[in-house]
């Protein structure tokens, strides 16, 4: 940052000196002005953020008025990345599809490159730190729309914005997508504050949970029942654009997704690979701490791939696997990849996680490497089953968003809010 400041100061002085040579209105002067603006954008990338919002927020409201009459503000721990297929992104995509604009507020690590504010039409991406500087700018806007704020994680800095959202009549929704306390126990989500999560659970107008175990846990802790809205499926995930041929094994297994040590069960995978040298296991993803060169020969790391390419790789597999460590992190999760494997008509073998609700007969669960290997063999023998794909295809994000909006419409607290803010238009 210091280097950038020095650069700005030095360049500024040089430009001031050159102004003597280039008179106002000359091409040289115009060039100097543009150079100075470019340096400023580099040094202070957020400098013109407020000015952009002055234009973009009213445009977004106008966009919604002609379409859905609603707006969502999503507070997400991750960026809006269509190639990663996170729940918040998928819900946002479905919203935009329906003409509901989305203010996608994402967590930005210090020094992390920002996403462009304007990307997909109907979606504005705002880093959380900039949002927190002036939440009023967002939460005191869109008065002509039905307004929802969706908390995808319980960051304690959101206490103030929650109070503001309540005061402004936004419908507040807490979407319980993970067991954050379990993440904290494995050294992640350091920001997690159980008291604030409890506050959010008790005070949000609508409480959702991605899985039954999370709903049960929070119900036991707070007495509040969550509406179950599992993860879903993007319809185009099964499309094969360019077939990819992979070397197959006696049994070919595959995994795609995040490979964090916090939940990916490497010891189990290595043991299975060692016991079954004739099998081949393909790993697609990111976040791996292990050196890929140290993997056994029958475990092949393909790196991160575009979501549009996944089906072409998976077409070579006999079984999709979810080898997660036993524990709170995996127990609370509802892996989207389970739906995606099933939609690709792959049998699924998993450890650590629960099968998706209603999909119990299509996902085989194991407790250790031996059982895992046995179930993989059974699953591979079962072959393709159309009802497996049919089940997954019924779990669309379109249906999930329907459930979310229905849960809000049926919530007594939302009715109460309508009363509080219904007297004045």
């Amino acid at each position: 940052m210091l280097v950038r400041k020095l650069l700005q100061r030095g360049a500024g002085r040089a430009i001031d000196a050159l102004k003597v040579i280039f008179p106002v209105g000359s091409t040289g002067r115009l060039f100097l002005q543009r150079t100075r603006a470019s340096i400023r954008r580099y040094v202070e990338p957020d400098a013109d953020f407020g000015r952009k919002l002055d234009r973009l927020l009213p445009d977004l409201e106008t966009w919604a008025i002609g379409r859905s009459g609603s707006v969502f503000l999503i507070l997400s721990p991750v960026q809006f990345r269509e190639d990663e297929g996170q729940r918040a992104t998928n819900l946002a995509l479905e919203m935009v599809q329906r003409g509901i604009p989305v203010l996608f507020i994402y967590w930005r690590w210090p020094g992390e490159k920002s996403a462009p504010i304007e990307g997909k039409p109907g979606v504005l991406q705002i880093p959380m730190d900039l949002f927190l500087r002036c939440p009023e700018r967002f939460l005191r806007s869109f008065h002509n729309l039905k307004r929802y704020v969706l908390f995808e994680y319980p960051h304690p800095e959101l206490f103030g914005p929650l109070a503001l959202a309540h005061a402004e009549g936004w419908i507040t929704v807490y979407d319980l997508i993970d067991d954050w306390s379990a993440f904290q126990r494995v050294g992640q989500a350091e920001w997690y504050d159980p008291l604030f999560e409890r506050y959010l659970v008790l005070h949000a107008d609508v409480l959702l949970a991605v899985g039954q175990s999370l709903a049960d846990r929070i119900g036991k802790q707070t007495g509040r029942q969550a509406v179950l809205i599992p993860n879903g499926l993007s319809p185009d995930i099964t499309r094969i654009e360019t077939p990819q041929a992979l070397v197959r094994g006696e049994v070919t297994l595959g995994y795609f997704g995040y490979l964090s040590d916090a939940w990916f069960d490497w010891p189990l995978i290595l043991e299975v690979a060692e016991r079954h040298p004739g099998w081949k296991l393909y790993l697609i993803g990111y976040g791996m701490s292990m050196d890929p060169g140290l993997l056994p020969a029958n475990v092949i790391f393909l790196g991160k791939k575009q979501r549009s390419e996944l089906a072409s790789y998976a077409a070579n597999w006999d079984v999709g696997v979810i080898p997660f460590k036993q524990g709170g992190v995996a127990r609370g999760a509802d892996p989207i990849k389970a739906y995606e494997y099933l939609a690709m008509n792959l049998p699924v073998v998993a450890t650590g996680v629960h099968p998706p609700p209603g999909g119990e007969e299509y996902v085989m669960c194991a407790r250790d490497a031996l059982e895992f290997a046995r179930k993989v063999t059974e699953a591979a023998a079962a072959g393709k089953l159309q009802d497996r794909a049919d089940y997954a295809n019924n779990c669309s994000w379109e249906e999930r968003l329907n459930l979310l909006i229905r849960a809000a419409a049926e919530s007594p607290r939302v009715h109460q809010k309508s009363f509080l803010f219904g007297g004045v238009r």
């Binding site: 409890r198 008790l202 009715h415 009363f419 007297g423």
Partner: protein, 374 residues
């Protein structure tokens, strides 16, 4: 008669709403009122349909306007900046000061007012008039003009459906004078007796650090999760919030350590809410113990617990008290009445000023005081 009101801010606050109501009411009575704001802000929306009578500009521009226009009366609402306007001495403008601020630091400007600058001081309560008299160093008449309730509080209260857990409500600015911490402390005390009460804190503060302080303090007292905070509700929605509190079987509480009038409590009474307030002025001027509300000693918060419990447990008492409270407050602070008093006072001040030409200091004061019967 041309009248100018001058106020520092143009926020979405209560003063702006009162000024808006005055523009309408005074125009309807044949006056020519205008408002001057020294700074711009979101309150423009309040004056959307009467822009011609609203001005926004610096002190310098205000001085120029005063030189250009001949106003018969100029009123300032806690805006002592008007006394720093230069080049107006020869115009002999004498201001009417509306003294509403309860904040001691902000009240000090009264000490520096001279009778040749100020015709009269108007206050919203007798208590505030008393404060004004204590601060003024010159003989300047002080008159009480009741604050008007805003129109949206006058319609019949609406019954709200919903969760029937009683709500204890607190409305106000979250600062040390309004004593929001007192509300948190009382929540902790009340929860020792009633576990089913929900607490609504409806308020905001321009100080962002208060957010952390609020969390810290509420956690320390073990009431964090019990308090629902509505940070900065638009005043237009407050009647519905009060209706919800009343319908839940709840009560509105003040823990304020200083008020010039106590508008939030008057508004709660207008919505038939039972109220519990500190046993000090100015609440004593419009709340009657056991009839339209209960008093407690704000220095000893535990004294609020018995009346709160009594109200929470007695539906009939709450209803009766709420109904009587509404009758009483509408009688004294209905906008028609408040506006009539204001008009009467302005006419009296204007007449007194005209008839006092040639009279000096003390004699003029005596005459004006005789007019007001004070």
């Amino acid at each position: 008669m041309k009248i100018l009101f001058v106020y520092k801010y143009l926020t979405m606050g209560g003063v702006e709403t009162v000024l808006r109501a005055r523009l309408d009411a005074l125009s309807a009575r044949g006056f020519l009122p205008s408002v001057w704001f020294l700074s711009d802000g979101p309150g423009r929306a309040i004056f959307q349909d009467c822009k011609a009578r609203v001005f926004i500009g610096s002190q310098r521009k205000l001085a120029a306007c005063l030189k250009r226009e001949q106003f018969d009366l100029c009123l300032t609402l806690d805006t002592p900046e008007v006394f720093q306007l230069s080049g107006l001495n020869h115009l002999h403008y004498r201001w009417i000061v509306e003294f509403h601020t309860p904040y001691p630091a902000a009240q000090q400007y009264l000490r520096e007012l001279y009778s040749d600058q100020v015709q009269a001081v108007l206050t919203p309560s007798f208590f505030q008039a008393h404060q004004a008299r204590a601060l003024l160093t010159e003989d300047i008449p002080v008159c009480v003009c009741p604050n008007p309730l805003r129109e949206n509080f006058l319609t019949g209260p609406v019954k709200a459906a919903g969760d029937q857990k009683p709500i204890l409500g607190w409305v106000g600015r979250m600062d040390s004078l309004k004593n929001w911490k007192g509300f948190i402390k009382l929540a902790a005390l009340l929860l020792e007796h009633r576990k089913d009460v929900t607490f609504w804190l409806i308020g905001d503060s321009p100080d962002r650090s208060m957010e952390k302080e609020f969390e810290r303090f509420a956690r320390e007292l073990g009431v964090y999760e019990r308090i629902c905070w509505f940070r900065g509700v638009d005043h237009r929605h407050i009647p519905r919030f009060l209706d919800r509190i009343r319908s839940s079987g709840g009560v509105v509480l003040s823990t304020s350590l200083g008020e010039s009038f106590g508008m939030t409590i008057a508004e709660a009474m207008a919505r038939c809410c039972a109220v519990v307030v500190p046993d000090q002025s100015p609440f004593c001027e419009f709340v009657h113990q056991g009839e339209t509300g209960f008093f407690y000693n704000v220095e000893n918060l535990s004294t609020a617990v018995p009346p709160l419990l009594r109200l929470l447990e007695n539906h009939r008492l709450r209803e009766t008290m709420g109904a009587l409270g509404r009758l009483a407050i509408l009688k004294s602070h209905h906008p028609d009445r408040a506006m009539s008093v204001l008009v009467k006072k302005l006419e009296e001040i204007s007449r007194a000023a005209e008839s006092c030409v040639g009279l000096q200091g003390g004699e003029a004061e005596l005459l004006v005081q005789a007019h007001y019967g004070q």
